[in-house]
């Protein structure tokens, strides 16, 4: 396991898998994960973020809340919130998510199903109110957001 990572989403409370680690089987957890090694099988981080580093090589079905890919992925990718393909990403598989960001230079072969957000029920109290639509992600000059419009915005 490695300690310092310059890439995004790498905080102290993030689990790290270094580039020399090879995992075969099911990888699941309840915390954010930075993965720079090799995984073959299934990755499930429901409700948490996954960052696949530039050395990451994944042959797996992936499920997480947010997924940022710098490395190579062969398999279907499903994110509740958002998928980001950075410029070094090579992804072969289908992507299912509400929002997708693809940096210029990323390679992608597969299908994209940008899901629309399910309609929210009326809040029962002021305390329970949650934002109906998450704040738009910051989009830099080199990153273009491909996002399905939330239902409330049409």
């Amino acid at each position: 396991m490695e300690t310092s990572k310059p890439l995004d989403n790498c905080r102290a409370d993030t689990a790290h898998i270094g580039k020399s680690v090879i995992v075969k089987g099911e990888l699941s957890g309840s915390e954010d994960l930075y993965l720079d090694g090799e995984v073959e099988g299934v990755i499930e981080l429901r409700g948490h973020s996954l960052v696949i580093g530039p050395n990451g090589r994944v042959r797996a079905r992936i499920q997480a809340r947010d997924i940022v890919i710098h490395g190579k992925v062969d398999g279907n990718v499903q994110a509740v919130e958002r998928v980001e393909l950075r410029k070094s990403a090579v992804v072969v598989g289908d992507i299912l998510t509400r929002r997708i960001v693809i940096e210029d230079g990323a390679y992608f072969k597969g299908g994209i199903d940008a899901q629309k957000e399910a309609p929210k029920a009326e809040p029962v109290s002021a305390v329970a109110v949650q934002p109906a639509v998450p704040a738009p992600a910051p989009v830099s000059s080199t990153v273009i957001a491909a996002q399905a419009l939330p239902v409330g915005a049409k």
Partner: protein, 227 residues
């Protein structure tokens, strides 16, 4: 690494040719006709056969359609696809290419964005590719293609096609290879291989039900083909 079937392959200055990543905007009547259909239908399945374009994905998913992306020209540059033929010369392994690419169920797509892929593709792959697209397109499905009308030789630069608006395209020359993405260097070897005239194009899409030509001012012939 060079790709011997490409005209002008191995020329010096290949990388420099790609250093201009500025975009050219051009009007496209073919695109205009296609987007008119895309606006009237919902949840269509589309296939983009050019290099991955975030802009196209944004545009098409924003309309509520599903999109598949598959860069067949880049895939055709796998050096292992060249195998010795009966006379010892290297030939394209067409069967293997078709087994590894465009593997979709019949009638999967409502429209295919073919761009100018055939002009740059290895000659042996063009016909099988068009036949495969015929199989995976739905009846009445659309194909949008672009063909050069003038042989600019090996100097005709390869462009990525981005959808700007309903009737405009942005053509982008391939930018310099990014660090760690040596495989992208293949883009810089793409050279115009041939020029199809109208008769060639009609023969190529012989199995399709109709074809409409739009002649641009920039020596590009647009075609909108109906399955």
């Amino acid at each position: 690494m060079t790709f011997p079937w490409f005209r002008g392959a191995g020329r010096k200055g290949d990388e420099a040719a790609g250093s201009e990543s500025a975009r050219i905007t051009r009007r496209s009547n073919g695109l205009s006709e296609l987007t008119r259909v895309l606006h009237t239908e919902e949840s269509l399945h589309l296939l983009d056969l050019g290099p991955t374009s975030a802009q196209n994905i944004t545009y098409l998913t924003g309309m509520g359609h599903g999109i598949h992306s598959e860069d067949v020209l880049l895939a055709s540059c796998d050096p292992s696809l060249l195998v010795p033929g009966t006379d010892g010369k290297l030939v394209m392994d067409v069967d293997r290419f078709m087994a590894e690419n465009l593997q979709y169920d019949p009638a999967s797509f409502d429209a295919v964005l073919f761009w100018d892929t055939p002009d740059y593709m290895h000659a042996d792959l063009v016909k099988p590719l068009v036949q495969r697209i015929h199989r995976i397109l739905k009846p009445k499905g659309l194909l949008l293609g672009y063909f050069h009308t003038r042989d600019a030789g090996s100097d005709a630069p390869y462009h990525r096609y981005h959808i700007g608006t309903d009737d405009t395209l942005e053509l982008q020359r391939i930018p310099p290879t990014a660090p760690g993405r040596e495989e992208d260097r293949r883009y810089h070897h793409f050279r115009l291989q041939r020029v199809f005239n109208n008769r060639h194009i009609e023969n190529l899409f012989h199995d399709y039900s109709s074809i409409k030509f739009f002649l641009g001012r920039d020596n590009i012939r647009e075609v909108l083909v109906v399955r």
